[in-house]
């Protein structure tokens, strides 16, 4: 790092911002853990009214899950391209990731509207409430991720392009994005398949 500071830094060898990001992700586990726990507790209970199994569409959700999974691939390719200092490829893969994320979000919005029209609403029963809060909280994370990716893409348009050192860092946006993906890996299984 710059020696404008004669000041010691990073005795652990992990870059400070990346470390901060990992700490943040570790606490995100607790956020989603609480939501999933609530979901599991209420899943085992009796409740009146319409159930998720009455309204969902497994092929549709499978495809959107697959899309989110593949966005992790494009994200890691963008990271890889930046390490190879290939700005052009980095931008392409970044945009691809953001688009895949946006498609996933659109799918979720479509799915929510469908469920709503079939009578599976936020306050229908305890199960629908937990479903919407859990998947909605994840959707919010995807939304923030898409915004971050587009911002990075915008910064990448400038003359000097993106770097791995300064400013809005591709590396920690990538960490965030992969995390959002692994949460969905768990949610897809817990909410839809089991």
């Amino acid at each position: 790092m710059s020696n404008a500071h004669a000041y010691p830094h990073e005795p652990t060898g992990v870059e400070t911002r990346k470390l901060g990001m990992w700490v943040f992700l570790s606490t995100e586990i607790l956020f989603f853990g609480t939501l999933i726990t609530t979901f599991m507790i209420f899943k085992g209970r009796e409740f009146p009214g319409i159930k998720l199994t009455d309204v969902y569409d497994i092929p549709f959700t499978s495809i959107s899950s697959f899309i989110l999974l593949m966005s992790s691939l494009t994200m890691v390719l963008a990271h890889n391209a930046l390490e190879a200092k290939d700005q052009e490829k980095t931008r392409v893969w970044l945009l691809a990731t953001a688009m895949l994320g946006a498609v996933f979000l659109a799918g979720q919005i479509y799915e929510f509207t469908e469920f709503y029209h079939k009578g599976f609403k936020l306050d229908t029963n305890i199960f629908s409430s937990t479903f919407y809060v859990l998947t909605g909280f994840h959707g919010l994370h995807v939304f923030i991720g898409v915004v971050l990716l587009l911002a990075l893409w915008g910064i990448g348009q400038r003359q000097q392009g993106l770097t791995l050192e300064g400013g809005m860092n591709l590396e920690f946006v990538a960490l965030y994005w992969h995390f959002v993906d692994i949460v969905w890996i768990v949610l897809f299984t817990v909410v839809y398949l089991i």
């Binding site: 790092m1 710059s2 020696n3 404008a4 500071h5 004669a6 000041y7 010691p8 830094h9 990073e10 005795p11 652990t12 992990v14 400070t16 911002r17 470390l19 901060g20 700490v23 943040f24 570790s26 606490t27 995100e28 607790l30 956020f31 853990g33 609480t34 939501l35 609530t38 507790i41 209420f42 209970r45 009796e46 409740f47 009146p48 936020l122 306050d123 029963n125 305890i126 409430s129 937990t130 809060v133 909280f137 911002a151 050192e165 300064g166 400013g167 809005m168």
Partner: protein, 660 residues
């Protein structure tokens, strides 16, 4: 040539703040010392408000069948007293210590993310203001089937469901109006502030230590900050989600915690105490850290069993996650769970006991100097032991079901949080007063403060033990004359006013000493840790050059050596060393790059209360204003570099550092 690199006028899209004095310099500051001082004053302000609420409660209880307060007002007062003291007084006052001292103790120039640090402070301020705006905007109506009067005054228009907001009592049916929404969303905002500072401190401790500052050479206060940050980082997410559920229940018709819709009120208790018990250690561990600094300094001995104290601290933090259900023994949890949590509660007394013995071992045989910080630390040990012992009695389930929701419990947690945490905090306030202001406090007034507070404290909370065992129930606004509880209640009220007097003495001492106190010597306490190797008040740049640490209690080893019999003897060169250190500290010889002030933390933070109001009043325009502020704040934040690009003479290195 030495220069302190200051911000240019136009280094980003927006003009950068450049004032160095006056109100704008405080609003835009990212300096950990200034943020620490602001945390301290804000927290003390809330401590006074919380104290006033307590006095109002005590006036009401001084007579049987009193009607100084109505039941609704009483409910609002005890809820706000608890919420204020925990979230707006003790937690932020600990944050003040973390902010001011942590970088100094590990030899850093600032925390890892200075702007995030400013952000968490401003979120805390806006969160506190949001919570207290309930007195102006909030409403608390009469519950269905209740007998509280329909009309409540402004004093009663505050959250009234208790600081742990048990469901379904805190739900819409039994707490109508908007007051409990202010509580749920206010805590949510305050939680964000603490969460951000927790990331910041963890990263700072791991990555910003100076040369030679290995983990096992860190001062105990730094260790306890580390432990508290872990507790915050892993417990706050749980309450955040639980508060989401509460808000959804109250505002959007869900039934997470309401049995009529298939919800589960006990789940709220689990989630609340999963956070709430670690929270207890979040409040007490900083005081442990302060006391572990003060005792060795004033006993003129090294801390007895440094490693044991550190590991006991982490033991407490870890086991602290596994005892939450002892708050729920009176709820319908299974007998197996009761037995298990009873055991784990007994086990957590072990690391706490280890610490007590270490402290006693530290003062044993030492040459004690009974200055005010030392008195408060000794008082801390005594009071905390009483509180700890009454705490262990709660682990016995049958006894606990008797004690639950009586004044016995109130006595217990005040002995821990007031006699423990607050005594430790006052010890620290006196101990580091010379460091922060460069002046000495008045020792006589300090001792007077200690003795009045100790007497007032024990008069207030001691009798509560037997009041509780006699059956006085917590959170009821009257007691009948026939119960014969009057005598001790009067004593308690008198004690509460004596505490108020002691706080006034403290304030007089603080204000007077800060203005007219004697100039503090360079090393007033003959201290052990590296924050005392720099001049007082701390220069803007902390250390002129990065210190190199060679041992635990490095400063002590620089001043003292062992003689043949193993006694510590002051080196002859010690006086000369102090003079050199002062000289060096005031006149840096290297270029110093400080993080730039920024407007954006406060802009970003100001968006959150608007989002809060938007949820309460379901208002789209307010939501848009809030989102807009968040957007402007983060956009400005993202586009301004933290520090100026520095052109070094030797190599033109143009990297930004830590631009977050």
């Amino acid at each position: 040539m030495t220069k302190i690199i200051k911000p240019g006028k136009q280094s980003s899209i927006f003009r950068r703040p450049s004032s160095e004095t006056g109100i704008w310099s405080w609003i835009t500051t990212v300096d950990h010392k200034r943020i620490g001082i602001m945390y301290g004053y804000a927290a003390f302000f809330f401590l006074l408000i919380g104290g006033l609420e307590a006095l109002v409660l005590r006036i009401q209880l001084s007579q049987p069948d009193n009607n100084f307060l109505t039941a609704a007002e009483y409910n609002a007062m005890f809820t706000m007293h608890g919420t204020t003291m925990i979230f707006l007084a003790i937690m932020p006052i600990s944050a003040a210590f973390f902010n001011y001292l942590l970088p100094l103790q590990i030899g850093a120039r600032d925390v890892a993310f200075p702007r995030l640090n400013a952000l968490s402070f401003w979120i805390f301020i806006f969160g506190g203001a949001f919570l207290y705006s309930t007195f102006i905007f909030g409403t608390a109506g009469a519950p269905e089937g209740g007998y509280l009067s329909e009309e409540v005054g402004w004093l009663g228009s505050a959250p009234n469901g208790g600081w742990f907001g048990y469901q379904p009592n805190a739900g819409m049916k039994y707490s109508p109006g908007t007051a409990m929404d202010y509580w749920a969303i206010g805590l949510q905002i305050l939680g964000i502030a603490s969460l951000i500072s927790a990331f910041n401190f963890i990263t700072t401790i791991i990555n910003m230590r100076t040369k030679g500052m290995r983990f096992m050479r860190m001062p105990v206060f730094t260790w306890m900050t580390f432990a508290v940050s872990f507790l915050l980082a892993f417990s706050l997410p749980i309450i955040a989600i639980a508060l989401f559920y509460v808000t959804f229940d109250r505002k959007f018709g869900t039934t997470f915690f309401l049995t009529e819709g298939g919800g589960d009120p006990i789940l709220w208790q689990h989630l609340f105490w999963l956070f709430g018990h670690p929270e207890v250690y979040i409040l007490i561990l900083p005081a442990f850290g302060i006391v572990s600094e003060v005792l060795p300094t004033f006993s003129r001995k090294p801390l007895f069993g440094y490693a044991a104290i550190v590991f006991a601290g982490f033991g407490i933090a870890f086991i602290g996650f596994g005892v939450w259900a002892h708050h729920m023994f009176a709820s319908a949890i299974s007998p197996v769970a009761q037995a298990g949590f009873g055991l784990s509660t007994m086990v957590i007394a072990v690391p706490t006991g280890v610490k007590i013995f270490n402290w006693l071992g530290t003062i044993w045989g030492g040459k004690l100097k009974l200055n005010t910080p030392m008195l408060f630390s000794l008082g801390f040990i005594g009071m905390f032991v009483i509180g700890g012992l009454s705490g262990v009695t709660h682990s016995v389930v049958p006894a606990d079901t008797q004690q639950t929701d009586t004044y016995y419990v109130v006595a217990h947690f005040h002995y821990v949080l007031f006699g423990g945490a607050l005594f430790g905090i006052f010890s620290g306030l006196y101990y580091w007063f010379p460091k922060v202001w460069g002046k000495m406090y008045n020792e006589t007034l300090g001792k007077l403060h200690f003795w009045t507070m100790l007497i007032g404290f024990n008069l207030t909370f001691g009798p509560m033990h037997w009041l509780g065992l006699q059956g006085q129930v917590r959170r009821t606004w009257v007691y009948a004359e026939e119960t014969n509880l009057q005598f001790w209640n009067i004593v308690v009220t008198i004690g509460a006013f004596i505490i108020a007097v002691s706080i006034i003495i403290f304030m007089i001492n603080w204000i007077f000493s800060k203005r007219k106190g004697e100039k503090a010597p360079f090393d007033p306490w003959d201290a052990r840790t590296i924050e005392w190797t720099i001049p007082s008040p701390t220069p803007e740049w902390n250390f002129s050059k990065a210190p190199e640490v060679k041992a635990l209690d490095d400063f002590w080893h620089a001043k003292y050596e062992e003689d043949d019999e193993g006694r510590a003897v002051r080196k002859e060169s010690a006086e000369q060393l102090l003079i050199e250190l002062e000289e060096e500290g005031l006149n840096p010889t290297e270029n110093i790059v400080l993080p730039n002030p920024s407007y954006f933390p406060i802009v970003l933070a100001s968006g959150l209360p608007f989002l809060g109001y938007a949820v309460i009043y379901k208002s789209i325009p307010l939501a848009l204003i809030g989102s807009l502020l968040l957007l402007i704040g983060s956009f400005g934040w993202g586009t301004e570099p933290l520090e100026e690009e520095v052109e070094d003479e030797e190599d033109n290195n143009e990297e930004y550092l830590d631009n977050v």
